[in-house]
Amino acid sequence: MRSLRLAAVLLAVFTGSLALALAQGDSRHSGYQDMGPALRKMQDDDTANPAMLFVQSGEALWSQKAGAAGKSCADCHQHATVSMKGVAARYPAVAGETGEPVDLEGRINLCRTNHQQAPALATESDELLGLSAYVALQSRGQPIAPPNDVQLAALRAKGAEIFRQRQGQLNLSCANCHDDNPGKKLAGATIPQGHPTGYPIYRLEWQALGSLKRRLRNCVVGTRAEAWPFDAAEYLALESYLMERARGMAMDAPGVRP
């Protein structure tokens, strides 16, 4: 009995010091830090960041009435600057209406279909990206804080498994690049640690704003693996795992990437 208590104390001391060590030696950083000065400047300056144009149209949509309910987002959520602060830093999360995990885009579409009684916005449409960029902007500087939930824990575990699974004709796992080789050059590109802090991003290569899913899809295709369809559970699992992996890091959406 006493030895059990001792073990518990030792364990507590150990995990405590582990947490401290992690906090002191946190080598995680946003993909922002892997970019050159010109791109960093573009992201820092809201008048130069092309993603801000989408944010503006998202802001306009926020107070536009839609659907059979004739309601705007603002009718229920009032000022996004207040009601949406820190929200994007928590997603994916479980939706109250369905009891199912959704990502931010999925959450917005639930409001479209359930609360506005309007058709869901198409994946990667300017409207959906604009709204999610506008909502994500309200979490700038907020620490990523995934909710504690058993369903999400299961999803994260699934995501972690996919992250370490080698796949595709090139037989590479996400971890091979993002855990084992960050900072190195893959041809011209610096391999980032792969954190989701800045999404949605404006990617110069796309000449467009794109979601985290689109980014993940690009990486999957790069390994010559079969890309999952946009509504596949695998993305939600990977997104949940990536957010957990980035827990505590500051949100810096909307980002700019090469």
């Binding site: 595709g168 090139l170 190195k184 050059k185 893959l186 011209g188 693996a225 890309a227």
Partner: protein, 136 residues
């Protein structure tokens, strides 16, 4: 003592084949180093420069995830280079170098690449001929 050594030697062939470090020609014909260079340089055919650098100055963006290919021909024989390109995992199970001439043991390969090797046998021979020509 001697008997023990003999017993050990008898065990060796198994060991040697598990860790074989070379492979004979896939086609029986010598490859073409000029074609091999073009394959190595091509980002969507050889993909080598994603990870490696090589003495191919006209390609500006080269990777640094892997050793520079300059001098490959001084460090290894053509048969050793061939095994490396065919399936580097046979030398290092944790390698990130893709298996260029293997179709089994892969997961979720995209439909358009299923059942296909990254390079053909002829292309492998061209690449090996190019690598072997890189002497230091």
């Amino acid at each position: 003592m001697k008997r023990m050594l003999c017993a050990l030697l008898l065990l060796l062939p198994g060991l040697a084949s598990a860790q074989q470090d070379s492979m004979p020609s896939l086609t029986g014909k010598p490859g073409d180093p000029t074609r091999g260079r073009a394959i190595v340089a091509n980002r969507s055919v050889g993909l080598c420069l994603l990870c490696h650098s090589a003495p191919i100055p006209e390609e500006r963006f080269q990777g640094n995830l892997a050793p520079n290919l300059a001098g490959s021909g001084s460090r290894a024989t053509p048969d050793q280079l061939r095994l490396r390109v065919v399936d580097a995992a046979r030398l290092n199970p944790d390698t990130i170098m893709p298996p260029y001439y293997r179709v089994d043991g892969l997961t979720r390969v995209a439909r358009n690449f299923q059942g296909k090797t990254i390079l053909t046998a002829g292309q492998i021979e061209d690449v090996v001929a190019y690598l072997a020509s890189l002497k230091e």
